[in-house]
Assembly symmetry: C2
DNA sequence: CCCACTTCGGACTTTTCGTGGACAAAGTAC
DNA sequence: GTACTTTGTCCACGAAAAGTCCGAAGTGGG
C-alpha cells in the first residue's frame, strides 16, 4: 500500500445510504418510492441484473407480486411490482384498563377482523389473557396466511426485552408476569410488547398522513400520556418509557390528591378520571370517560365545559413541550381526544397563549389518524416495523435459502 | 428461482448493523471498541484479509497509526492500532452576543490553541468577522496538519445548508449574511454552521463522560436555551432550531415585557439579562451576567439569591421537559450554570417538586463537561462528527484512490 | 534452554457477488 | 411495416471478500 494523502478538502458525501439488499428493495416498494425493477435500479444505483436477482428472491418468497403492466413511456412497458400485503398477517392486542381490543391486520396495517371486549377494572392477567387467547384463536380461524408476529400494548412501563410489564400502577398484578405463555395456545408467533401511548404514537408514524418529521402525540383518556416523534423517529417508548405528562405538578391543584399518591398533579385537574369525578359530583350519571364524552357530544353543557377545561389545563403543560420540540403537528387522541373540536378548543387556547409565537406560527392540531383503533393499529405497526425491516427480511431470506 | 417459503418464524436478526467499510472500522477504533485488527474482525465479522486491507488503506492515509504491541494473551501479541489525532485539525468559532471564542482542536477534540475576545454588544458581521479571520490566521501559524473544517456557532436560528443565520433577533445585522467569505483569507476548509445551544448540547455528546443516552442540556446565560439528546442522538438543532425554553409564558410574570416583545415569558423572571436588571435596580454595579455570577461567587447575598431564584424558575419549566423525556442527566451550562451548585440548588428544588417521582428518582444534575469552552468544543465536535463520519471517510479514501 | 502451544497477521487460492454487454420482448412513433 | 425506445434476462468477466496456509512472535512447561 503506497502512501496516499487522505485529505482532499472538497468531498461530497453520497446523499443517503440506500439499502441495496433485498430487504432494502422491499422497503422501497412498500413506501411507494419504486414500482418497477427499473425504478429500483435508479433508486439504488444497482445494475438491472442485481435488481432482477433480488426481486426474483422476493417474488419467490411471496413478498412481492408481479402486477399488471405499467403504461409505456415509449418503450417496453415495465412489469409492475407490488408488495403482497397478504403474504402474512399480524396480530394486535391493546390491553386497556377496562377493555381489550384484539385485531388481525394485513401487512399494510388494514384490519381484517377484530373485536373489543370490556373487562372489570383491575383484572389481572389470569383473568384477561386466557380470554384474549381464546378470542384470538377464534379470529384466526379461516385466516390462512401465517402470523408474522403479535404486538401487545399495556398501560404503564414495559420491558420489551424481557417481554413483561415492569411498572404499571394502573394494572395491578401484571408487573413481571410473562405474557407470551398465555398466547402459545392460539399462536406461537413472536411477541412484541409496548406501552399504550407509544403504540398510539407509532400509529401516527404509520399510515399515509404526512404530519411532518416532528410530532407530539397526546393521549387524553382516563389518564394522560404523551409521545414524541422527532426527525421522523419515535423518540420515547423505545425502552418502554413514556412521557409523564399527567404527573407534572401544576398551579392551583395543591390540595388535590392524585391516584399516583402525590398532590397537585395535572391529572387531578385534567385527566379523564378527575373529570368524571367532577361530573358525578355534579349529580350526573357517568362511570367512564366515554360516558363523559358521550354526554358532551349530546350537548350536555357541564360535560362540554369539563372537556374544554381539561384541554385547557393539558395545553398549559403541553405548551412547554411544544416550545421544546418545535413540532409541526400536535396529534390529540384517546377517549377525550375523540371529541376533537371540543377538546382542542381549550388546548389551542392555552398553547397559543403560552408557547412562543415563532413556534406556534405554523403549528397544526390533528385528531388521531386511526381513530378509536389507533392503539391497536400501533401494535400492528410495531410488529410490521420490526419483522419487515430490511434486516429482518434479509435474515428470513437467508434462512429460507439455507434450508433449501 | 424456485419457490422458497420466506416465513420461518424464529429468525434472529443480527444485533446492530455494523459498518464494514473502512470508515466504519475507523469509527470502531475511535470509539475504543477495537484496538487491534483481530478486534475489528470480531466486531464486524469480516475476514482477517478484509480487515487488513481496510486497515492498510487507513494507515496509508495517515488516519490510523501502528502503536506498540499489546499485552499477549498467550499467543502472538496484536499490533495495536491507534487513531491518529494529529492527522488534521479542526477550527471552532463561537460567536456570542458580546464575545467570540476561536480555537484550534486536534481530532480528539483537545484544544491546541485558542483565544477569546470581547466585542461591542450589537456588532455586525463586518465588525466581528474580519477580526475573527485575522485571529484564526495567527492561531494557525505553526500548525502544519491540514484543517479538516470550521465549525461556527451563533445565537439564534441558522440555516446549515445555506450557511447563514436566518432568525437571530439578538444579533442585529447577521441574518442572511454568508459567513464563509470572511474566512477564506485565513482558511478555505468547509464551514459548518450551528446554533450556540446546539453546540453546547453536542459538546456533551462528545467527551468521555457517560451521561446516558437521554440528556437535557440547559444553557442559562444572558438568554435561556435548551437542547435535547434522545437515544444518544442530538434531537433538536439539527435543523438549526433550538428549544425555546425562555419564551414559555409562566405564572406571575404577566406584567413583565420580554425582549422578544411578548409579556410573561420565563426570560423576564429568570434570564441573565433580567437578573442583571434587577441587580442594577438594587443599586449594584453590573453590566453582564458574568458580573452577576462573579458577585455571587464572591458571596454577595443579593446576587446569590437572584441566581437561585433564576434556577428555581427555570426548574419549574424544566420539570415538564424532564417528565416528557425521562433524561438520566440534566446538564447545566452557560454563564449562570458555571455557578453550578448555587444555580442548581434552586433548579433541583423546583424540578423535584414538580416532576413525577418515578422520573426524578435517578435523575442527575451535572455541569457542562467542558466548562467555559463547551460551546467551542461543540463547534469542533460538529466538524469532527461530519467530516469523520464513516461515509465521509469512505468518500475521502475513494477520492484519494481515484487520484492515484 | 528448548519445545509445544497459542494467537496474530500476511500471502495466496477459491468463491461469491455485482457489473456490463448482448439479446429477446413488448410497446410507441411515423 | 419499420425504426426506435425501454424493459428484463442471460452470460462472461472482474473485483472483493472469504477461506487456507504459513511464518512470526509471544507464553509456559519440562
Amino acid at each position: 500500500m503506497d502512501k496516499v494523502p487522505w485529505f482532499h478538502p472538497p468531498v461530497s458525501i453520497s446523499p443517503g445510504p440506500v439499502e441495496t439488499t433485498a430487504g432494502g428493495l422491499l422497503a422501497l416498494v412498500r413506501s411507494g418510492e419504486a414500482a418497477t425493477r427499473a425504478d429500483l435500479g435508479r433508486a439504488t444505483g444497482l445494475s438491472r441484473s442485481a435488481v432482477s436477482q433480488r426481486v426474483a428472491a422476493l417474488v419467490g418468497a411471496g413478498l412481492l407480486v408481479e402486477g399488471g403492466g405499467v403504461a409505456s413511456t415509449g418503450g417496453r412497458p415495465a412489469g409492475a411490482l407490488a408488495f403482497n400485503v397478504d403474504a402474512a398477517v399480524v396480530v394486535g392486542i391493546a390491553v386497556g384498563r377496562s377493555r381489550t381490543q384484539v385485531g388481525v391486520f394485513d401487512l399494510e396495517g388494514r384490519e381484517i377482523v377484530g373485536d373489543t371486549r370490556d373487562h372489570e377494572v383491575g383484572s389481572g392477567p389470569d383473568e384477561v389473557m386466557p380470554d384474549v387467547a381464546e378470542r384470538l384463536r377464534t379470529l384466526l380461524e379461516g385466516i390462512e396466511p401465517p402470523v408474522l408476529g403479535i404486538g401487545l400494548s399495556l398501560p404503564g412501563t414495559v420491558d420489551p426485552e424481557r417481554r413483561v410489564s415492569v411498572d404499571a400502577p394502573v394494572m395491578k398484578g401484571w408487573d413481571g408476569v410473562p405474557l407470551a405463555p398465555y398466547l402459545t395456545g392460539a399462536c406461537t408467533a413472536p411477541l412484541h410488547l409496548t406501552n399504550d401511548t407509544s403504540a398510539l404514537t407509532r400509529s401516527e408514524l404509520f399510515g399515509p398522513a404526512p404530519l411532518g418529521s416532528d410530532v407530539l402525540v397526546v393521549k387524553a383518556s382516563t389518564g394522560l400520556g404523551i409521545g414524541v416523534i422527532a426527525d421522523g423517529r419515535l423518540v420515547n417508548g423505545s425502552r418502554g418509557v413514556t412521557g409523564e405528562l399527567g404527573h407534572t405538578r401544576v398551579e392551583g391543584a395543591d390540595e388535590l390528591l392524585c391516584r399516583c399518591g402525590a398532590h397537585g398533579c395535572l391529572e387531578t385537574v385534567a385527566a379523564g378520571w378527575a373529570m368524571v369525578n367532577r361530573l358525578v359530583e355534579g349529580g350526573a350519571e357517568a362511570r367512564h370517560v366515554r360516558d363523559l364524552v358521550g354526554l358532551a357530544l349530546d350537548g350536555d353543557p357541564v360535560a362540554r365545559s369539563l372537556l374544554r377545561e381539561s384541554g385547557r389545563r393539558v395545553g398549559e403543560v403541553l405548551a412547554v413541550a411544544v416550545n421544546l420540540l418545535h413540532p409541526q403537528t400536535v396529534v390529540v387522541g384517546g377517549d377525550m381526544g375523540s371529541a376533537f373540536d371540543l377538546y382542542t378548543a381549550g388546548m389551542r387556547e392555552s398553547v397559543y397563549a403560552r408557547a412562543a409565537g415563532s413556534v406556534t406560527r405554523d403549528l397544526r392540531f390533528a385528531p388521531a389518524a386511526h381513530g378509536d383503533s389507533a392503539g391497536l393499529v400501533g401494535c400492528a405497526a410495531l410488529v410490521i416495523d420490526h419483522e419487515l425491516s430490511p434486516a429482518a427480511v434479509d435474515a428470513r431470506l437467508r434462512a429460507a435459502r439455507a434450508e433449501a
